[in-house]
């Protein structure tokens, strides 16, 4: 579907109306589902949505459990590329140190 066709279909809804509802909706989502950050350091990985990217979901459950850390473990760089890639999304937002 090209952009013009989508524009036409969505001409009935206004950005203002959608934005207003999204503002409320997004806030609710953040409060309800953004607790999955992970990471390890002052150092924890954050980022709810990104972590669950592979699953196409925005919530990722308990974030910092070791069991999940294990899942994120990867192979030596040149070895198990596929698995490492798959888990990569779940480990992005670590910061670097303790305070």
């Amino acid at each position: 579907m090209n952009k013009e066709k989508i524009r036409k279909v969505l001409s009935k809804v206004g950005v203002a109306g959608l934005a207003t509802t999204v503002g409320i909706f997004t806030s609710a989502v953040v409060n309800a589902g953004n607790s999955c950050g992970k990471g390890s350091c002052g150092s924890k990985k954050v980022e709810a949505s990104e972590k669950a990217e592979d699953a196409g979901k925005t919530s990722c459950g308990a974030g910092m459990k070791k069991s999940e850390t294990k899942k994120e473990e990867m192979t030596a760089p040149a070895k198990k590329e596929t698995k490492a890639k798959k888990k990569k999304n779940k480990k992005e937002a670590k910061s670097s140190c303790s305070k």
Partner: protein, 531 residues
């Protein structure tokens, strides 16, 4: 209609056919004549709804089934990356007056359940990852993202139109990226592959998130013996803070990464404008985390009401008596109670220990004590800077032995996590899977991470003096692109050629605090070459 078209129609419109029934289906096929294609069946349903006594929603169901078929058959190229956010070219949007998508997903059985006459925006698209076709009811958030991009609006204009924070628009677009409705540009936070082992996977080269560890105040209610920084610095004003956030948003947009702000201090809650700054951070669309000390429940409630942090990290230094000797009397118990409160409030918790020669034997006992209290526990080696210079690290040999025990203990204790890059050497020796290193990319100093102090000073890493400039005087982009920052990203040359470099790079702060040239001489605790 030809025989092949009739067969095709059966395959394309299975739900319509099951509703219509065999006899009326035959009638419809007969009415279609010889020249009719499967596509024209959609109009046929519309025109015959009343004549044949068909369900009123049937024409829209036919349209939905046809659209799904079109998307399934689409061979249009879905670019792996875009130069800017753009709609998935396979996306179709339908405006329906019946709630029909649950039937296409198999959630409801059309022969048993009557669709409800509710307005529904159906979105049908191929997932860019596997080209699997998805049919979903669009949320307002998804519609907004689609509308903004279809209309070529900027997030700022959309936010103005809806009178909501621009971060809400950013989030809507990023959520649409997650679902594959929108294609995103590739992150520009990338390692220089020249310095990585050949064949390093892309996931260890490119960061999708950038973290700002923001020390918004040096004021603290504790006086820990190993505190890295007790200097008095010019306090951050709220206006300066908001300017930093705007600058950070620009940086993230320009680099195509998600922003994560990790508030710390001192105790960030002692910053007088903390909640205003936290709210502004949420409004910018950044994810958040806290590194701090225990605070009253009311503070956490207020925090969560604005935006639930990804995690709240506190520190412990060993078993109760040792911890309280370092951090102050009664602190251990305060932390344990606080962790329980975080759990009650569904806030993810983490405990960090700063490893010294005095507490190395207490790490594993503490990990056992914290089971059921914390979600995550790990350690970080002491950097002998600031007050930390008064303490010392264990010997290299003792540390190596400890790392092996730590890795073993992690097998049985679900809260133990890995952070120190050198753990990867143990894993490598054991032939086990490596973990992703200190910041997800081995040492992340000035790569996917920057630390900012209350007076605006930016550092590559907070564990040691690694100044890069001041965010009050330069943009984060200028600081990130500086030669000094590049030098930190480049890391230690002594690690070049190491098979673990992408997930290790040792620890610059340890080398630095041992008086070594951290860019030339590696972490004195590294034992990779002796394996």
């Amino acid at each position: 209609m030809s025989t092949s078209s009739k067969d095709e129609a059966c395959a394309i419109f299975p739900l319509c056919r099951s509703l219509v029934g065999g006899e009326r289906w035959k009638t419809l096929l007969a009415m279609s004549g010889n020249s009719t294609t499967a596509e024209s069946f959609v109009d046929m349903f519309s025109s015959q709804v009343e004549n044949l006594g068909l369900p009123p929603f049937l024409s829209q169901l036919a349209k939905l089934e046809w659209t799904k078929h079109v998307v399934e058959r689409s061979t249009i190229e879905i670019p792996k990356e875009a130069t800017q956010f753009k709609l998935n070219p396979t996306l179709e949007v339908l405006d329906l007056s019946w709630k029909l998508t649950p039937f296409l997903n198999g959630i409801e059985d059309i022969t048993c359940v009557q669709p409800s006459p509710e307005k529904e925006w159906a979105i049908i698209w191929q997932n860019p990852k596997d080209r699997k076709v998805l049919v979903e009811p669009a949320s307002n958030e998804e519609l907004l993202a689609i509308k903004v991009l279809a209309e070529d609006m900027t997030p700022e204009d959309a936010a103005d139109a809806g009178e909501i924070p621009v971060g809400a628009i950013d989030r809507a677009i990023l959520a649409a990226v997650e679902n594959g409705l929108v294609l995103a540009p590739r992150s520009r936070i990338r390692r220089n592959e020249m310095f990585l082992p050949a064949g390093t996977p892309e996931c260890f080269i490119t960061a999708k998130t950038f973290t700002l560890q923001w020390h918004i105040t040096n004021v603290c209610d504790l006086s820990c013996k190993h505190c890295y920084d007790r200097t008095k610095r010019s306090p951050l004003t709220l206006e300066q803070g908001k300017r930093v956030l705007r600058d950070f948003r620009e940086f993230c947009r320009e680099r195509h990464v998600r922003g994560n702000v990790c508030f710390t201090g001192g105790n960030p809650f002692l910053y007088p404008e903390f909640f205003s700054l936290y709210e502004a951070t949420s409004a910018m669309g950044f994810s958040t985390a806290i590194l701090g000390n225990p605070v009253p429940r009311s503070k956490i409630e207020r925090l969560v009401a604005i935006q639930r942090p990804g995690y709240f990290q506190v520190s412990l230094e060993g078993e109760p008596s040792h911890n309280d000797d370092i951090r102050g009397r009664g602190f251990y118990l305060r932390v344990i109670e606080f962790l329980g409160m975080l759990r009650d409030m569904d806030v993810s918790s983490a405990v960090m220990l700063t490893l010294t020669k005095d507490n190395i034997d207490q790490v594993l006992p503490l990990a056992e004590r914290l089971r059921g209290h914390a979600e995550y526990f790990t350690f970080n080696r002491l950097s002998c800077v600031g007050s930390g210079a008064n303490l010392s690290l264990p010997t290299r040999e003792r540390y190596i032995a400890f790392l092996h025990a730590f890795v073993d203990a992690a097998q049985a204790n679900p809260i133990i996590g890995f952070k120190d890059n050198l753990i990867n050497i143990v894993l490598h020796q054991m032939g086990k899977e490596l973990f992703d290193g200190c910041t997800g990319f081995g040492c992340g100093a000035a790569f996917n991470f920057l630390a900012i102090l209350p007076d605006g000073e930016a550092h590559a890493c907070r564990k040691f003096p690694s100044p890069l400039g001041n965010v009050f005087h330069k943009t984060i982009t200028e600081i990130y692109d500086s030669e000094t920052a590049e030098r930190f990203r480049r890391g230690c040359r002594a690690c070049d050629g190491c098979a673990l470099k992408a997930v290790c790079g040792s620890c610059l702060s340890i080398a630095s605090s041992h008086g070594l040239d951290m860019f030339e001489q590696q972490d004195p605790y590294c034992f990779m070459k002796s394996t």
